[in-house]
Amino acid sequence: MNSGLICVSLFTADGAGIWIASILTLAIYSFLYKDNPIYRFSESLLIGISVGFLLVTTFDTTLLPKAFEPVGKGLSVMFGIGGFGSIISFIWLLIPVALGLLMFARFVPKYAWMSRVALALYIGFGAGASIPANMQSYILRQIDATIRPFLHIDSFWSLINAIVILAGLISTLFYFFFSKEQKGAFGKITRLGTFYLMIFFGATFGYTVMARISLLIGRLTFLLKDWLGLIS
């Protein structure tokens, strides 16, 4: 194995790829020192490429199969065989496409309000779907998970833990009260709630650190091994 400093050839598709990826990696890291033209160049490049990527994938996976192809097919069926039924189904196909096209009304001030119809559908859809989903997983399931351990209290410690959990949940919920001043006895409970919240925030931060460092290990391994060949 080549132990020299640079072991990747620039003149193959893979080798050139590794070179480019490495240089861009360094360009992004240069931001840590300070903002500079090289970072700005790679930032602009990343934005352009990623939007291009999004455009192509959205076209291929959504617009073509869900909008253009069905409408094209509908047109050919309607003119080929005709009949009232095919006209109805064609109009049905046109609704979402028409709604999508309404988005372009934004460019014409007079009709700009029409794009709100599509937005209203979009937002209504999200709001309606989120209500049962949140009731289920954010409220009922959390209550269940809090009280279920009380069915299986078999030791002093499991009781202590269940009480720690219970006290934490109740005090955090009190913290979120909006219409009551956090003073007096109530204030003491809400302060307990903030203690729990701080422990959660600290723990979450600490727990995530490992994964974040793994990302850096990944990038540095790429630079040192795949590009420079310093690690065998």
Binding site: L32, Y33, V209, M210, I213, S214, L216, I217, G218, L220, T221, L224, L230, I231
Partner: protein
Amino acid sequence: MSIWEKAKTLDRRIIFLFMFLGVGLPLLAKIGLPVSVTDDVRNVYNYIEKLEPGDIVLVSYDHDTGTLPEMIPMSDAILRHLFKKDIRVVGMALRAEGNGIGRQNIRRTSAEFDKTEGTDYVFLGFRPEITAAILGLGTSFEKVFPKDDRGIPVGELPLMNEVSNYNDVKLVISVTDDDTPVYWVNYANARFKVKVVAGLTAVMATTFFPFIDSGQMVGMVAGLKGAAEYEKLIKTPGRAARGMDAQSIAHLVMIGFIIIGNVAFIMRRRGK
């Protein structure tokens, strides 16, 4: 301005530099921080250690590229152990992406030990339908994999002439990021009594404790830490040991800075 005041407005680039070195240096130079070996990993090592040269082990690559950084050090360590002991390896994949990963992994590690494809190891390729594939191998490897990954009929491979079903395999190792080992346990182990070992991502480890307790699995190697333990057992520290070193040093750097920050904070308060 006192040194404690300066600490308050410390240029964060100094922290960046230390983090960079804390991760980069352990990757470059082996440090070899102590790694304590858990029983689950030691059991895997011991089981393989007791095998005879020439025995056959099936390694299945049941993960995708997303978890590659965590899985590859593990597969490397286990394969090195197998090849060092002259155990023969049959590779396969139950995930499409695992096919490319497994092929590269086996060819690369086998090259370190001058092994020949076809006699010392084979790579059979990928089969979808987990249950069907695992059960099928119990009857006939050839039925499930008529040809190897290169398109050579298995009848022409000396190694595969000795493998007709699980009876000829001493161990199945499933390297995975999901619960595929459950299938190996439920179908290959329960029905055909072949021993099963899981190589897992760290987050999946808890899922498999019951199987180890019940003796349905020999053991497991979980995450970068498990791989580092395995590297320690085979006495060839590699990527996992370095990764763990880098993790630990980076954590210590962070904790060090937090301590400095707090000491400075207390000193500033006293000064007031």
